[in-house]
């Protein structure tokens, strides 16, 4: 088990290293000099040079890459070109919106999808199954940001149960914060839940056709007992993969949803940074997103081993 975890960890570090090189290279290709962008076209050459030195732009490319990576490892993401504040501080503030939102949505999505998928699989071909499948078919087709607009129209503008946008902040209390993330989380979660429910159902149906399910029935387990005791845990193995993938979609999706609800998250930050050509912010946020995706997939790999003993003994 430990060996398996170490091996996955090594591959995680390798992926991160390659990803950072890719991101750094792409940003390097970007035309324009941040210093002249910041100071305007009329800036003096010696002022520009001073600023470049201050930003560390005068070092060689390789040097700058290692400065960037080394800084990130120490929690220093550099200084924003436009705001002149540490990027790490900006990201940390926004992360407190984006990360809870993605986790909230993931929880909702799982809570909806598991029962729906298991229910549909247990009633294969019956009206209950067809209803769930029809609903998920529709759920997959709905763009989450449009769904978000409809939620705002109904629950914020007409019913006035929620605010149409903005974030109350966590300092006013956990529930106030959660309340302002509820509509965004629902908008993110429902389309993902539709996908997850379909995967859960088809994975469970595959398992129901396995020989060991027949063995379980031959032992005297009822259909229901066999489903819960032998089916669900085996069906989780492919479902876990999808949950891992979904996290990256939720994180990316939250960038769009933040636009609908005017949430001060990473998404807003990155769009502001793009329009201000504040590339160091873009670079760091993208790296952070990729880090999150790779880390979650690493955790999924560990979860596999917890579910599947065949992986634990393999090296």
């Amino acid at each position: 088990m430990l060996r398996y975890a170490l091996k996955r960890l090594l591959s995680l570090i390798l992926s991160l290293a390659v990803a950072s090189v890719v991101i750094f290279t792409v940003i390097e290709v970007a035309p324009g000099d941040p210093a002249s962008f910041m100071l305007g076209v009329n800036a003096q050459e010696d002022t520009l040079a001073a600023l470049r030195a201050e930003l560390g732009l005068d070092a060689s490319k390789v040097q700058r890459y290692f400065n960037w990576v080394g800084g990130m490892l120490a929690g220093d993401f550099g200084t924003s070109y436009t705001y002149r504040t540490p990027v790490s501080q900006m990201i940390a503030d926004r992360l407190w919106v984006s990360l809870p939102l993605a986790l909230f949505a993931l929880t909702l999505s799982t809570l909806i999808a598991f029962p729906a998928g298991i229910y549909a699989a247990a009633r294969r071909g019956k009206p209950g199954d067809l209803t769930v499948m029809g609903a998920t078919q529709l759920g997959i087709a709905v763009p989450n940001f449009w769904f978000a607009m409809m939620l705002v129209l109904i629950f914020a503008i007409n019913l006035r149960w929620f605010n149409a946008g903005g974030f109350a902040g966590w300092d006013k209390g956990f529930w106030t914060g959660l309340h302002s993330l509820t509509l965004p989380a629902i908008a993110l979660a429902l389309p993902q839940a539709a996908i997850l429910a379909r995967v859960m159902r088809s994975s469970l149906l595959d398992i129901l056709g396995e020989d060991f399910m027949r063995t379980a029935r031959a032992k005297g387990l009822s259909r229901r007992q066999a489903l819960w005791r032998h089916g669900v845990r085996n069906a989780l193995i492919p479902v876990l993969t999808i949950i891992g993938l979904q996290f990256s979609f939720l994180l990316a999706g939250s960038i769009i949803i933040e636009q609908v609800f005017y949430l001060p998250g990473l998404g807003r930050l990155v769009f502001q940074a793009i329009s201000a050509r504040d590339l160091i912010v873009v670079e760091s946020v993208v790296m952070l997103l990729v880090f999150a995706v790779i880390t979650v997939n690493f955790l999924v790999d560990l979860a596999y081993a917890a579910v599947d003993p065949r992986l634990r003994s393999r090296t």
Partner: protein, 271 residues
């Protein structure tokens, strides 16, 4: 033919037809401003109403279909054109360094969701439909590479492939002659699903301003424009949204229907 296939074909052809007809005819010029007529609700003159500049929504939806289909189709094309050969190659040389490099590269691309790729590209080159195509296209490559490799690997274990090898056929020839035709159904079905995902992704990118730029009409942009007016002119948001839903639903039903029709054992990846 199943109900899925019929309904899916009907909805998809409806959208495709609208896009094609828009090249020769639209009820109004989709770009013509007509401020006095702004924010009209749907009626007999303007079937889908007008926007805040008085432009005819029906015409804009027709032309917007063009953008959506073009972006998604080319992106799927990129994904297939690069992903399928990569998957076939990886499977043909299973376990070799080539396979390892291809699969690790795939994993890496998977770590960049299409939106993140789009952000990177936009940060460097600026926004635009072409960059949306590239972003969605790059993201499609590992999808096709992975499913092609998976299906091809099981085929390589089959005895008819061994028989072909005994007859002296090489990996490239076997991939083209035996493997590709036997994964074609899977690719068609997955292609339909990726097409629908591409429509959704294009809408999302245009919505946040990373996709097609004005004056090119796109459904995602129409939704972004509608956002501040949704409280007094809900049709501005409803209609482009329904257009997206009809298209994606149609393509998904078509994909499911094709799968049941071609081979019910096909497993598609949906993520």
């Amino acid at each position: 033919m199943s109900r899925n296939l019929i309904l899916g074909t009907a909805l998809s052809s409806l959208v495709l037809l609208a896009a094609l007809i828009s090249f020769v005819w639209t009820p109004y010029d989709h770009a013509a401003l007509n401020i006095p007529d702004k924010l009209q609700a749907p009626d007999t003159r303007h079937w889908f109403g007008t926007d805040h500049f008085g432009r005819d929504m029906f015409s804009m939806i027709m032309v917007g279909a063009r953008t959506s289909i073009a972006v998604a189709l080319v992106a799927v094309g990129i994904g297939m054109a690069l992903g399928v050969p990569l998957g076939l190659t990886a499977a043909a040389h299973k376990g070799s360094w080539l396979d390892e490099v291809i699969m690790r590269g795939n994993d890496l691309v998977f770590a960049f969701p299409s939106l993140v790729i789009a952000i990177l590209i936009t940060a460097v080159f600026g926004a635009g439909a072409l960059n949306a195509i590239i972003a969605i296209g790059i993201f499609n490559i590992p999808v096709f590479a992975r499913i092609t490799r998976g299906a091809a690997l099981t085929l390589w274990e089959r005895e008819f492939i061994l028989a072909a090898r005994v007859s002296g056929k090489g990996a490239a020839r076997i991939s083209a002659e035996h493997i590709l035709p036997n994964v074609a159904n899977l690719l068609i079905v997955q292609g339909t699903i990726q097409f629908s995902l591409g429509i959704l992704a294009e809408a999302g990118l245009s919505y946040v301003g990373l996709g097609a730029q004005p004056p090119t009409p796109s459904w995602g942009r129409m939704l972004a424009d509608a956002q501040t007016m949704v409280s007094f002119a809900p049709h501005l948001a409803l209609i482009p949204g329904l257009a997206i839903i009809v298209t994606v639903l149609g393509l998904n039903l078509l994909g499911d229907g094709l799968r049941d029709w071609l081979d019910p054992r096909i497993r598609v990846a949906r993520a």
